[in-house]
Structures are given as structure tokens and as C-alpha cells.
């Protein structure tokens, strides 16, 4: 039998038309869509660096209007609506997200650059799941552990990042609405399209005008929202740098604040781990969503006795990763979200090389247009290197080693961040011992980057405070009483 030709996968792209992309988008205030009074900017497809649509962004006046609309909706309708009635709206939104799941997935991949496999199988289903989950809480808040009559806070200003645009909108909106708050949401400037489509869904679900307002815009709009006197609660997901700025701004005001910021998670592999699955977990930990994940397992801590074996297997596995068109169903790694982010990844990778770590990527042809970075690992990384300390927010893994469980804990905790950690071992007692000593909000054992609306998510230290998801996620939007 002659040698088989390689099994080439013919292109299997999702149709771009499914996204129902429009030529221009505006803002959503008080139940209606209109052009914002700010700048008009083009949002781009990062896989080709070409414009997708014009976005008429919000101006300062629009922030006032949105906050005022949220305030009157809060006072007039939403705060006093029985929980079971609020739940009906949330269930309706959840179902509508599912019904338009394919459209949202394609739109997300176009605007963000993530592979359709992820937007279709992770982002959109999880977004719907969050609405379903919090719909269930809306009429049971007095049993949530925040007193017999917990109260909403009022108007929530919510600022979300570009890495999971729709999912982050769902994480923010679902608990806020379930608890009786009204919302002004600002999506990231590079990825406003799915949040605006969600606004359309919300309008179609007949949510009372003003309960949810969506303002496309840049940092200035975010700042205006943070500083706005009519806002009772701020929730921010994004960089630690901006998080600190917000915390300073809010200090001394009555505003409540929850922050979900950066991370530099340790993914810890012991020599008795199920190694094949650990390699999968490492790949999923750092290359999922091109590493644009705050809880990414960007520091691999591997026990020295299996370090060579794990690294070799990881490299072998990385050879089968398929980088390319985000809309192709067989793509594993999509585009970097923006030129700005690409520049940052390149800068840190260059710093890794300059500091003496060994860089490796599988053979991988990058598309000529658009923003791309190959899956990369650095070996020979020491704790003092920048790539071991700073959040890269890209498909770049730093491999470090350890000898004993205590050393693994010490190294894993030796970071200003504390969002997540992974433990790989077949020994249950060691998982529990490690988990009780790791200072991170989310700990995965023999898995990584697994999310569920029932599970609280949030950080220690500079990774933020407050939790999203689960019963804990209600607290950020309730006053105990």
C-alpha cells in the first residue's frame, strides 16, 4: 500500500452573511437605537484588518441620557417588578440568544477574530446559560443568603473587554437585571457589534425602555460613566491598570465597585499527572481564544522530573494546531484582536528572547493581512523574566519548573495577580492540599478554562475583587437586608 497523502481538510467556512452585518451601528438608549453624538469609527475584522461597519459612538451627552433613562426605568418599573416577572424577561433573552446563536457566533468571530468553533461552542451557549441561570435566581433572592429582603443598588455602569464581547455582556447584565438593577453597558471599542445585537434582542424581548442601555465608545465614554454621579454601582472587566484608575476615581464616593482584572495563572503539572490530558489542558489553558483570556494558564509550572517529556509532548501537540480564517470550522487559533494588542505581544515575546529564554513555535504560515501571532512557548524561563511576571494576553506560554509541591505553591503565588490556577495530578489529597494554599479565585483540577454560570469567578490581589457567576455573583448587585 502506498503511503497515504496527508489528510488535508478542505475549507469549511461559516457563511459571512449569517452575521447579518449592517453598514452602520449606533447606540441603544431608552429602548431606541440612534447614532451616538461622539465620533464615528470603523470596527474592523482583525483577521484581514479591513473595516466591517461604521459605529456612531456615544458622546458625553449620551452618557447623561443613558444614565437618566436607566434611573427612570429603575424608579418607574424595574425595581418594584416582582422577581418572577423579571425572570420572564431573562428567560426570554436567553432563548432569543439561542435562537440567534449562529448569527451571534459568526458576528463575534468577525468582530473579534476568535475561531468560530469557540464562539459557536463556548461564547454563545455560555452567554445564554448565564441568562438562564440568573433568571432562576430572580424570584429567590431572599434565599440567597443576603438577608430576608435584599435590595437592588440602582443604576449599574458596566464596562466590558474585547476578549469575550457577548459573554462578558451576559456575565454583567444577567445578575444585574435578575437582582432588579438597571444598566448602562459599555462594550469595548474594538468589539461592539454583538453587544449591540444583544441590545436588539433585548428590545425584541420587550424589556421596558431604559432598563438596559448600550453605549458604544472608547475610554472617554468609560471614564464618563465611571465618574457619573447618577451611577450607583460600577462593574469593570479589563486590565489591572485601568482597574486601578477606576478604583482611585471611585474612592470616596458612594459607588459600589467590582473588578475583574488581569492574571498570570500557574498551570501546575505534577509527575503523576495524566500527561496526555495535561498536555490538552496546557494547550487549552494558553491557546484558547489566542490567549486573550484573563484566567489563561500562561505560566506552566511543571515538575522537573517530567519537564522534558511534557515539553516534548506539548510541542508535538502544538504542531497539529490549525491557525487561520476564524470562520473556518477547523480553525483552532484565530486572529489577534487588534494591531495594538499584537504590538504588545510582540514586544513581550522579544523581551523574553532578550532575557535569554528559548522561544519555539511550530511551523506555521501566518496570513499576510490582519493581526496574527503564532502559538509560542518559551522554555528556560526564570521567575525574574518579564514573560514570567507580566500578563501577555496572547498565545505565549512560559514554561518554568519546580521540584516539590511547596515550591509549586510558592512559585504559583509569587505574582501580583491571583485569578486562576490549574493542578494536574492523579492524587486527590494533593489537589486539596494545593487548592487550600493557592491564592487564586478559581482553581481547576485536571482541567482548565472550564466555565459554568453556577460557578463563581473572580480574583485575589491585583486580579480584582467581587465574584461573577453563581450565588456569589448576586452579591455584587445587592444590598444585604
Amino acid at each position: 500500500m502506498p503511503a497515504a497523502p496527508p489528510f488535508e481538510y478542505a475549507p469549511a467556512p461559516e457563511a459571512r452573511e449569517t452575521a447579518r452585518l449592517r453598514a452602520s451601528y449606533g447606540i441603544f438608549v431608552n429602548g431606541g437605537f440612534r447614532a451616538g453624538t461622539g465620533e464615528t469609527v470603523a470596527t474592523t475584522d482583525p483577521s484581514t484588518a479591513t473595516a466591517l461597519a461604521d459605529v456612531h459612538e456615544a458622546g458625553p451627552g449620551d452618557v447623561d441620557a443613558a444614565v437618566a433613562a436607566a434611573r427612570s426605568a429603575y424608579d418607574a418599573v424595574w425595581r418594584d417588578l416582582p422577581g418572577r416577572e423579571r425572570a420572564k424577561y431573562l428567560f426570554r433573552i436567553a432563548r432569543a440568544i439561542q435562537e440567534r446563536g449562529r448569527e451571534l457566533a459568526v458576528l463575534e468571530s468577525l468582530d473579534n477574530g476568535k475561531p468560530i468553533r469557540e464562539s459557536r461552542d463556548v461564547d454563545i451557549p455560555l452567554a445564554a446559560a448565564h441568562f438562564f441561570y440568573y433568571a432562576g435566581w430572580a424570584d429567590k433572592l431572599e434565599h440567597a443568603g443576603y438577608g430576608s429582603s435584599p435590595q437592588p443598588l440602582g443604576v449599574a455602569g458596566q464596562i466590558i473587554p474585547w476578549n469575550f464581547p457577548l459573554l462578558m455582556a451576559a456575565w454583567k447584565l444577567a445578575p444585574a437585571l435578575a437582582t432588579g438593577n438597571t444598566v448602562v453597558l459599555k462594550p469595548a471599542e474594538t468589539t461592539p457589534l454583538t453587544a449591540l445585537t444583544l441590545a436588539e434582542i433585548i428590545a425584541e424581548c420587550d424589556l421596558p425602555p431604559g432598563v438596559v442601555n448600550v453605549l458604544a465608545g472608547g475610554p472617554a465614554i468609560g471614564q464618563a460613566l465611571v465618574e457619573h454621579e447618577g451611577v450607583d454601582k460600577l462593574a469593570f472587566t479589563g486590565s489591572t491598570e485601568v482597574g486601578k484608575l477606576i478604583q482611585r476615581t471611585v474612592a470616596g464616593t458612594p459607588k459600589r465597585l467590582s473588578l475583574e482584572l488581569g492574571g498570570k495563572a500557574a498551570n501546575i503539572v505534577f509527575d503523576d499527572a495524566p500527561l496526555d490530558q495535561a498536555v490538552e489542558g496546557i494547550v487549552n489553558g494558553i491557546f484558547f481564544n489566542q490567549g486573550h483570556v484573563c484566567c489563561a494558564g500562561s505560566r506552566l509550572l511543571v515538575q522537573e522530573s517530567v519537564a522534558e517529556e511534557v515539553t516534548a509532548r506539548l510541542q508535538e501537540r502544538m504542531r497539529s494546531l490549525r491557525l487561520g480564517d476564524p470562520l473556518d470550522k477547523n480553525t483552532d487559533i484565530g486572529a489577534i484582536n487588534s494591531g495594538e494588542q499584537l504590538a504588545r505581544i510582540r514586544e513581550l515575546a522579544a523581551a523574553g528572547e532578550a532575557e535569554g529564554a528559548q522561544r519555539w513555535s511550530p511551523p506555521c504560515v501566518l496570513p499576510e493581512r490582519g493581526f496574527w501571532f503564532p502559538p509560542t512557548i518559551f522554555t528556560g524561563v526564570s521567575a525574574t523574566h518579564r514573560i514570567a511576571r507580566e500578563e501577555i494576553f496572547g498565545p505565549v506560554l512560559s514554561v518554568l519548573t519546580f521540584r516539590t509541591p511547596q515550591e509549586a505553591v510558592d512559585k504559583a503565588n509569587n505574582t501580583p495577580y491571583g485569578l486562576s490556577a490549574g493542578i494536574w495530578t492523579e492524587k486527590g489529597s494533593r489537589i486539596l492540599w494545593m487548592a487550600s494554599r493557592l491564592r487564586a479565585g478559581v482553581i481547576w483540577a485536571n482541567t482548565f478554562n472550564r466555565f459554568d454560570p453556577a460557578s463563581p469567578f473572580g480574583g485575589y490581589k491585583e486580579s480584582g475583587h467581587g465574584r461573577e457567576g453563581g450565588r456569589h455573583g448576586l452579591e455584587a448587585y445587592l444590598a444585604s437586608r
Binding site: M1, A10, A273
Partner: protein
């Protein structure tokens, strides 16, 4: 990948493992564990690959070449076997471009019929043996079973391991049986059926896979098709990893045969994706990857028609046997 980095160690370690029962046991129990949840997730992830147009056409023909067309019924007759052999050589009477399958698989007493019917073709004759499907007979009886099948002209032998011995930890006994059957096979290829549905855990599947490879199996095979749980994606994943690691360590490339419950082309194509991405493109060949099946072939032919003609023509356009 350098040989010393394989979980199987190196050639010396493998040689050492088979020295005595205690060494074998230590070796098998020293293999890294398999996390069931993780293996299922990886298998499910691979199943999302979308195989279309030209790659689908290529995969369907490749899958047809890999079929061991099987009949293992108490009611088998000479006529049934002859009819199956005709189909094996020319699966689609309407289209001579369809490749022949890899082999016809029958019980030992029907080997001679199959050999005669397949004369002059490239299709192999495989026979189950060793008190298939239970494996509950003395070693002497099993070896007679094998020798008779080989003497009748079978060039591939599908043996079953003694699952009772394996599950009670008597790895040495399982090993010796495979070695003895290997010797009785002479020049015939040996496929070792692990009956993974009865081994229950993926750790056991990994150990049994390595054990069979150490004992000289040319192929490791999932199932007899006679127990409820047959070939599943996580089991196939673990077995493909085992042959890959064995090849990395020893340079010796062995095969995997999936049997039982694979009826749809879509499943077969998913397994080809898995073989390609988990074991490697080297395994996309009929001497390294097989499907033991009966109804799968017709579905492959129907899909082939659909690709060529654009519409389904239905079960009456492929032959019953």
C-alpha cells in the same frame, strides 16, 4: 520526539518489562494515568472537525479501503460468505472506481470458503480465533483454533485476550497467551481484541494496549462486537496514543482496528480525523488502521453516491450483502 521521552521509556525499558510477571506488572502500573473526563473532552473536540468536499471524498475512499467486512453469526453459511466476498472485491457493482475493502472477516470454519472466493484479489482473509468471542477455553484449544484458521488460508487472525485474567491482574498469563498465538500465526498478521467494553476504565485500556503491543500484536482491536459497549471515541483515542508512543519508542509501527457499532460514514470520518491528529498521518493506511464492520460499507457507498450525484439514492441502490 526522542525515544527516551516517551512514557514507555526506551527499548531497554520495554525489553526489561517483559522479563517476568512482576516486571510486567510494575511497567503497566507505572504508565501515566488517563483522565476519563479529559479524554472524552479531547475526543469530542476532534469530532467537531468539519470534513467537506474533496477531503470528504478522499476520506470515504480511504475508509472503504480500511473496512474488514465482517460476518460473525451462528447462521453464517457458505453462500453468505461467498456473497460477502464478492461485495468485498467490488463493493459497488455500478462503479468499478470504488476500491476493494481490506479484508473479509469470518469464523475459522468458513475461512476456506472465503479464501476460494477471494482468489486472485488483494482482499485479505481474516479469521477470529481463540474461542471468540469469550476467550473462555484452554490455551491448547485456542492454539488449535488459530492453527486451523491459518492452515485454511487465513492471513489475518483476530484473537481475543482473556479478560478474566487481565482484570484479576494476571498480566503474565495474558502476555504468554498472546505470544503463543503470535507463534501459532506463523506469517499471518495478528490482531489482538482487547474487548474494551469489559475492561471498563481507560487506564485498563491503556495497559491492555501496551501489553498486547509488547506481546507482538500487529494490530490492537477494540471489540468483538458481541458486548454492549464497543468502540467509543475515548477508547480509540487511548489506543491510538498507545500505538503512537510504541512507534516513537521502538520505531515499530503497529495498527489499530476499531470494531463494533461503527455504522455511519460520519463516525468513520471522525475516526480518520482522530487517527490523523492523534497518531499521525502515517496511520492513514489500511495496513495501520481498520474498521471492523458490516453495515458501515453501505453507508460509505451511499455517501459516495451523494457526493458524486448531489442527492441521496437510498438503501435500494446498494447491495444487501
Amino acid at each position: 520526539m526522542s525515544a527516551t521521552l516517551s512514557p514507555l521509556g526506551d527499548v531497554a525499558a520495554i525489553h526489561d518489562a517483559t522479563r517476568d510477571e512482576a516486571s510486567l506488572r510494575r511497567f503497566l502500573h507505572g504508565l501515566p494515568g488517563v483522565d476519563q473526563v479529559g479524554a472524552e473532552a479531547r475526543a469530542a473536540g476532534l469530532a467537531t472537525r468539519s470534513i467537506k468536499t474533496t477531503s470528504k471524498a478522499w476520506a470515504i475512499d480511504m475508509a472503504i479501503r480500511m473496512v474488514d467486512l465482517t460476518t460473525l453469526e451462528g447462521a453464517d453459511t457458505h453462500g453468505k460468505v461467498r456473497s460477502l466476498c464478492a461485495k468485498a472485491m467490488r463493493p459497488d457493482p455500478s462503479d468499478p472506481a470504488v476500491p476493494a475493502v481490506a479484508a473479509v472477516c469470518v469464523y475459522p470454519d468458513l475461512v476456506a470458503v472465503a479464501v476460494e472466493a477471494l482468489q486472485g484479489s488483494q482482499v485479505h482473509v481474516a479469521s477470529v480465533a481463540t474461542a471468540f468471542p469469550s476467550g473462555r477455553a484452554s490455551l491448547a484449544t485456542k492454539l488449535v483454533d488459530v492453527r486451523e484458521a491459518v492452515a485454511a488460508g487465513a492471513d489475518e487472525i483476530d484473537m481475543v485476550i482473556d479478560r478474566g485474567a487481565f482484570l484479576s491482574g494476571r498480566y503474565g498469563q495474558v502476555f504468554e497467551e498472546i505470544v503463543a498465538v503470535r507463534a501459532a500465526c506463523g506469517g499471518a498478521h495478528l490482531k489482538v481484541i482487547l474487548e474494551t467494553g469489559e475492561l471498563a476504565t481507560l487506564d485498563n485500556v491503556r495497559r491492555a494496549s501496551v501489553l498486547a503491543l509488547l506481546a507482538g500484536a500487529d494490530f490492537i482491536k477494540t471489540s468483538t462486537g458481541k458486548v454492549a459497549i464497543a468502540s467509543t471515541p475515548p477508547v480509540a483515542l487511548v489506543m491510538l496514543q498507545a500505538v503512537r508512543e510504541y512507534a516513537d519508542t521502538t520505531g515499530d509501527v503497529r495498527g489499530v482496528k476499531l470494531a463494533g457499532g461503527i455504522r455511519a460514514s460520519k463516525d468513520a470520518i471522525r475516526y480518520l480525523v482522530m487517527a490523523s491528529e492523534v497518531a499521525g498521518p502515517r496511520w492513514l493506511a489500511a495496513d495501520r488502521f481498520r474498521f471492523g464492520a458490516s453495515s458501515l460499507l453501505n453507508d460509505l457507498l451511499l455517501q459516495r453516491h451523494k457526493l458524486a450525484r448531489g442527492s441521496y439514492d437510498g438503501a435500494d441502490y446498494v447491495t444487501v450483502d
